[in-house]
């Protein structure tokens, strides 16, 4: 899991100079997660075990023990990685601060308390390797495993060009991913006012009599390949005209090598565009975009 994320982050860091800082920090965090989560115990989003499982977790007996373990073991590493690889203002804010009541911070994040952007970042980066408790009841559009909001949307690749892949949502609070309606807003449930924002030709081809009305000028959506000069061929944004929230959507059909959680971090220019259009992401990603 981490190998794929690392490889993709390295690839995108080269491809997208604008995302170098973000992906540089992400790569440092991947190292932390990998070292703290050797068994990949979060892969199934399972409930907190009653005893420690995995190296480094000591004799964590369950309950709040995971939070205490994470505060003692993971948070300091996250802070060190951030101080070493984060953007200067963030690195300075985090550097030189010891991990005091880290468990309190993590508990506040789990409880959904209001946190500052830096606190939210530290808590999210730390909780990436901590199992969350399952919540069997969850609202539509929310993570069926933990009740968290969706971080991003992605389309499964389909080997057959006549088949549209299903849409998946990835949780912002845990690693769970689930299938969700392709045409419904995960935030408000609206299904009639969806807009897809995609790259269009910078210089639309002139309509020729040969091409007639079919000359391609609009955004390249759906199974269409991307515009030849596309900067983000695998990305688009999907917004709801009712609640004005949006998600970045990663199309694995266009780029089977994409890793949605990593590709979404590189979409900052698209995020800026969407903000300009008056849309807010359903929930900001780990890096605050």
């Amino acid at each position: 899991m981490y190998g794929q994320e690392r490889a993709r982050a390295l690839e995108l860091r080269e491809r997208y100079p604008h995302a170098r800082e973000v992906l540089g920090l992400y790569l440092a965090l991947v190292d932390v997660w990998e070292s703290a989560d050797p068994g990949g115990v979060r892969a199934d989003g399972g409930s907190v075990p009653s005893s420690g499982a995995g190296e480094g977790r000591g004799a964590a007996p369950g309950g709040n023990a995971w939070l205490e373990w994470a505060a003692a073991v993971v948070l300091p590493r996250v802070m060190a990685a951030t101080a070493a690889h984060g953007p200067r203002p963030l690195a300075e804010a985090v550097g030189g601060v010891g991990a005091g009541d880290g468990a309190g911070l993590l508990a506040a994040w789990v409880a959904g308390e209001e946190l500052t952007p830096v606190e939210r970042f530290l808590a999210r980066a730390t909780m990436r390797v901590v199992p969350v408790e399952r919540r069997p009841e969850s609202a539509a559009g929310r993570c069926p495993a933990c009740g968290g909001p969706p971080q991003l949307s992605y389309r499964l690749a389909s080997e057959d060009p006549l088949v549209s892949g299903r849409r998946m949502l990835a949780c912002a609070a845990c690693p769970h991913e689930w299938s969700f309606s392709a045409t419904t807003c995960p935030n408000c449930g609206e299904s009639g006012k969806r807009t897809v924002h995609a790259e269009a030709h910078a210089n639309p081809p002139a309509a020729s009599p040969e091409a007639g009305s079919a000359s391609r000028t609009g955004p390249y959506v759906g199974r269409h390949g991307p515009v030849p000069e596309a900067m983000f061929p695998q990305l688009r944004a999907e917004s709801c005209e009712s609640c004005h929230r949006y998600l970045i959507d990663v199309d694995l059909g266009r780029d089977p090598g994409a890793v949605p959680r990593v590709d979404e971090l590189a979409a900052v220019p698209v995020d800026l565009y969407m903000a300009e259009q008056g849309h807010t992401k359903i929930t900001a990603n780990l890096m605050g975009f």
């Binding site: 997208y16 601060v97 549209s164 392709a182 890096m287």
Partner: protein, 191 residues
Amino acid sequence: MEVSRRRFLSIGPVGVLGGSALGFDLTESINVKQRLRIEGATLAHSLCPYCAVGCSIIAYTRKAANGRTELLQIEGDPDSPVNEGTLCPKGATSLQLAVSRRRVPQPLYRAPGAAGWTKVSWEFMLDRLARNIKASRDATFVTQDAEGNVVNRCEGIAFAGGAAFSSEEGYLATKLMRGLGLVHLEQQARV
């Protein structure tokens, strides 16, 4: 320094001018955003008109500069229990009902024995169709069957309706063809 929960709470936003809330430099992202050409397309649900399976489709449209709604793309609806995102080759090309580079905008006529097609007027074409239909009907109209039963039917012409017909077009076509005495009526939606 040991940090308390209070201390954590004191770490506020660190965003700087031209940077994000966490202090990432946005200069390059802003440059990229200014170069990007992004446009929006609206999603609409519809049904493939071609056959009785009734596959669900998603249509992408946009308002063009001249105010007209343009159809950009049609694809299978992955949420549909009928087709689960799949379309057959006919349905997958249903965009061409509305937008096609190969659409013939004018009637073409190939005269008997001619090798090529020539452009003709709608008047010529409609007149020619009417004359040919009348000639075929007159030549093949049957008033009585072999057992002497009165049937009054035209056996020399068959009619196939297009699957993209609306209900009203289908009704009109059936009325007209039955009025001519045709008995061989078919619909592409059943094919």
